[in-house]
């Protein structure tokens, strides 16, 4: 991300060649910061007191945020048949998602899903910048909920600043306790809901309330409660700035046509306060009245007028703030607005560009593959293991037996009747029950013997295939195995 240097920048000018363009002649010894001094190598965190703001983009955030929140808290309560509709059953190693139950064998599906998610993120980022960060990222959504709790317990921005500067007294304590209780309460709800994706919520909630849940359940609820509390209450923008990898590599997706939130330097400068009735041209001022509203609403505590910065999550709150002020001043809105670097530079801007189309294409192809795999998936799997104790059993001079254990995995959501057959061995005799009734989601172990007459054996090591299919014949799975017999002495 290049920096868009504003007119009043405090960025020092370096001692370069006069015209600054003769790079070959650049003497790096001359390039040094203008001021050197004793410093702390770690940055002290500046507290950010945000001011709430209403506006167009904030409304969009609410409209996208609420359904996601409701989905997060509501999904565990949905039932599908006799079980929870969305349940990641780790002990049974089965992920239930409505009509489909995924097994460890379906791991490639998860890979496809992650690839789709990645390309979708790339597509959106190339087109509209850090939309994910600003509108839908749980870090942002939960932080704004926590800020709202801060607002109703400790008051407005100025009241909070004052409160924090005050010495401890009863009122301060009361307000702080109220805030942290709200935070912890919401965090606990979040933690409980998260665990409810792994433990059926109806049992979990009852057990937790009756203090009968397992230690593991309590430990995980506590972990996610504290994680939520610390992340959304205390760390906030620090997560975006120092921890989040997406925040960093999204910058690599940006080009000149990517939507960014930017301040119109040309129109805004020179900034300065004025009376609402005053004519800025007469005062030699731009449209920016330097009210600091855009800074005060920013959840990452930056000044958007300094140009595009890596901290900016493009939440567009500064646009809402500035537009409100511009309306009050009866100026045109859009002093801060969604724009692109090319538009700023008054260059030809375009939306459809190869990079965007490429990402979009990749997303669509991956999604098509994913859906194809999901809907053509056979919910049946067969593993055949040879008995490990004996290579073969010899009944007499001519007959041999091999013992196998067939693991039949019913990955469907219904009980099934399966039947076993084999192909590739002439006149093979299967000893044992070839019919298996397997419950939904069960792994059924079926030991079977195969008996062969030496006259039918082409070699001492014959490869053949076991088949298992359900009675309707719609699901069929196979697995290869070997029939071993002694090497004939020549």
């Amino acid at each position: 991300m290049s920096t868009n240097k504003p007119a009043n920048s405090k960025i020092p000018v370096y001692d370069l060649d006069q015209d600054g363009s003769n790079l070959d002649a650049l003497d790096f010894d001359k390039v040094k910061p203008t001021e050197i001094g004793e410093i702390d190598f770690y940055q002290k965190r500046e507290r950010i007191y945000t001011r709430p703001i209403k506006g167009f983009y904030q409304r969009i955030r609410l409209l996208t945020g609420w359904p996601l929140l409701i989905a997060y808290f509501g999904l565990p309560w949905l039932q599908w048949g006799e079980r929870q509709a969305v349940l990641f059953d780790l002990p049974a190693r089965q992920f239930h998602l409505f009509f489909i139950s995924l097994w460890p064998q379906d791991l490639p599906l998860l890979a496809w899903l992650l690839i789709i998610a990645a390309f979708l993120l790339f597509t959106v980022t190339v087109w509209a910048g850090r939309v994910w960060c600003g509108y839908t990222c749980p870090q942002t959504v939960w932080t704004s909920i926590f800020m709202w709790a801060e607002q109703i317990t400790e008051g407005t921005r100025n009241q909070r600043i004052k409160l924090d500067a005050m010495p401890w007294h009863w009122t301060k304590l009361r307000k702080k306790i109220a805030k942290h209780s709200l935070w912890l309460g919401f965090a606990a709800l979040t933690g409980l809901t998260f665990v409810a994706y792994f433990v059926p919520v109806r049992e979990l909630l009852a057990d937790v309330l009756l203090l009968e849940a397992s230690h593991g359940a309590y430990a995980w609820i506590l972990f996610f409660t504290l994680a939520t509390y610390i992340n959304a209450g205390w760390l906030r923008e620090q997560v975006c700035m120092y921890m989040c990898p997406y925040a960093r590599f999204q910058s690599a997706m940006f080009d000149g046509d990517t939507l960014i939130v930017a301040y119109d330097n040309e129109r805004g400068e020179a900034r300065g306060s004025r009376k609402i009735t005053a004519d800025p041209k007469a005062l030699n001022l731009g449209d920016c009245i330097d009210c600091q509203m855009c800074v005060q609403v920013c959840p990452t505590g930056i000044d958007i007028r300094d140009g595009l910065q890596y901290e900016c999550i493009t939440c567009a709150l500064c646009i809402d703030a500035c537009d409100a002020v511009m309306e009050k001043m009866q100026y045109d809105t859009g002093l801060i607005k969604y724009t692109t670097e090319k538009k700023q530079a008054k260059q030809h801007a375009r939306i459809l560009r190869p990079r965007l189309l490429g990402y979009l294409g990749a997303t669509l192809i991956m999604s098509a593959i994913f859906l194809f795999v999901i809907f053509t998936r056979t919910p049946l799997s067969l593993d055949v293991m040879r008995e490990r104790d004996a290579l073969y059993y010899q009944l007499d001079n001519t007959r041999f037996e091999n013992l196998y254990v067939l693991k039949i995995m019913n990955m469907s959501q219904q009980d099934q009747d399966y039947t076993v057959s084999l192909e590739g061995l002439d006149n093979a005799l299967i000893i044992g029950n070839i019919n298996a009734q397997v419950r939904a989601g069960e792994v059924y172990e079926l030991p079977l013997r195969v008996q062969m007459h030496s006259a039918d054996l082409d070699s001492h090591r014959m490869t053949f295939t076991f088949y298992v299919e359900n009675i309707s014949g719609r699901n069929k799975a196979k697995s290869e195995s070997r029939f071993l017999s002694p090497i004939p002495s020549s």
Partner: protein
């Protein structure tokens, strides 16, 4: 670990820990640019200096505190065992006790269901199948159909009786079977004659391969060319070298009544009290062809089923008995 190695590790760990602390503290402050840039500039792009947040520094401190506390409580400093006295063996024992406790409750549920009824409990049988696989399948096979010298447990033919009590007894206390060697007594001819007689007992009533249940799945591949060097099916020799020498059979019958009937019975149906097998059902523990039967008579056989009473707890034995009982009765 020898003392010198222990010392080496202690010194190394201490030096590293102190070193890390020194590096951290020595780089807390220093001289640098007081504006926000590093001074690097190229093509008009300046490199900002974005220092780590201060809480990051405290995380380092926290890690060091954690590390030191770990070394105090857990084994890490050479041979020093740590205040908690943690060892992997202790941990394993703890986990084992925990598991025993957890699973004991599950096993106990079936304690009061009798052996001859428990095989109808699918969940119990699933557990029992695993116990069988771990303790019995080595000899009897995972499908419990045995092999040469190890009885088939799924054919409803029992050497020591198939009642619930008899099966439980076999599993808990084991069985020792002895077929004496008759080679010296009978002589070579006597052995051959007796073997012929014994084999004739099964042939009289049954088809040779009746001990193996026939399967519906015997389907030959239609399109496969028969190999030239293969024996045609019709010419195959039957399971046993069927004795047709009536004089041998008659002589063998006399030897049988003299020497064998005491255990196997005058009608050769065996005696479960002794574990003497039925010789008329064409089920052969040690093979049913002439050579195998001759070897059994001549040299004798000694079979041993080990006792499991001390290897497995009562609940597991109970489930296992039910499983074996159900093998030839269960339909699934």
């Amino acid at each position: 670990m020898s003392e010198s190695w222990s010392l080496y590790i202690i010194v190394l760990t201490t030096v590293m820990t102190v070193g890390v602390i020194w590096v951290l503290l020595a780089n807390r402050r220093g001289t640098g640019s007081v504006d926000k840039t590093t001074g690097h500039q190229h093509d008009g792009i300046e490199e900002y200096d974005n220092p780590l947040p201060a809480w990051w520094f405290y995380l380092f401190i926290l890690s060091i505190v954690f590390g030191v506390a770990y070394l105090v409580f857990y084994p890490g400093m050479g041979n020093y065992p740590g205040l908690l006295n943690w060892t992997s063996v202790n941990k394993w024992e703890q986990e084992n006790q925990k598991a025993e406790k957890t699973y004991a409750e599950i096993f106990a549920r079936y304690r009061n269901i009798s052996v001859d009824a428990i095989y109808k409990e699918p969940a119990a049988m699933k557990m029992a199948q695993r116990i069988f696989a771990n303790n019995c399948a080595q000899c009897h096979g995972v499908d419990a159909r045995g092999s040469l010298g190890f009885p088939n447990l799924a054919d409803n033919d029992w050497l020591y009786g198939g009642s619930a009590e008899q099966i439980s007894h076999s599993i808990e206390w084991g069985r020792t079977a002895v077929m004496p060697a008759w080679g010296q007594v009978l002589g070579d001819k006597g052995v051959i004659d007796t073997a012929h007689y014994v084999l004739s007992l099964s042939v009289a009533s049954q088809e040779p391969s009746a001990n193996r249940e026939p399967s519906a799945n015997r389907k030959p591949l239609a399109n496969k060319e028969p190999l030239a060097n293969k024996e045609p099916l019709a010419n195959r020799k039957p399971l046993a070298n069927l004795p047709n020498d009536s004089s041998r059979i008659e002589a063998g019958a006399q030897s049988y009544q003299t020497f064998c009937a005491a255990c196997h019975g005058a009608d050769a149906k065996g005696n479960p009290l002794l574990g003497a097998p039925n010789l008329t059902d064409d089920i052969w523990l040690y093979g049913g062809h002439l050579q195998a039967v001759m070897a059994s008579i001549q040299k004798g056989r000694a079979g041993a089923m080990p006792a499991h009473a001390k290897k497995l707890n009562a609940d597991k034995l109970h489930l296992l008995s039910g499983y074996v009982y159900g093998l030839s009765r269960r339909e699934r």
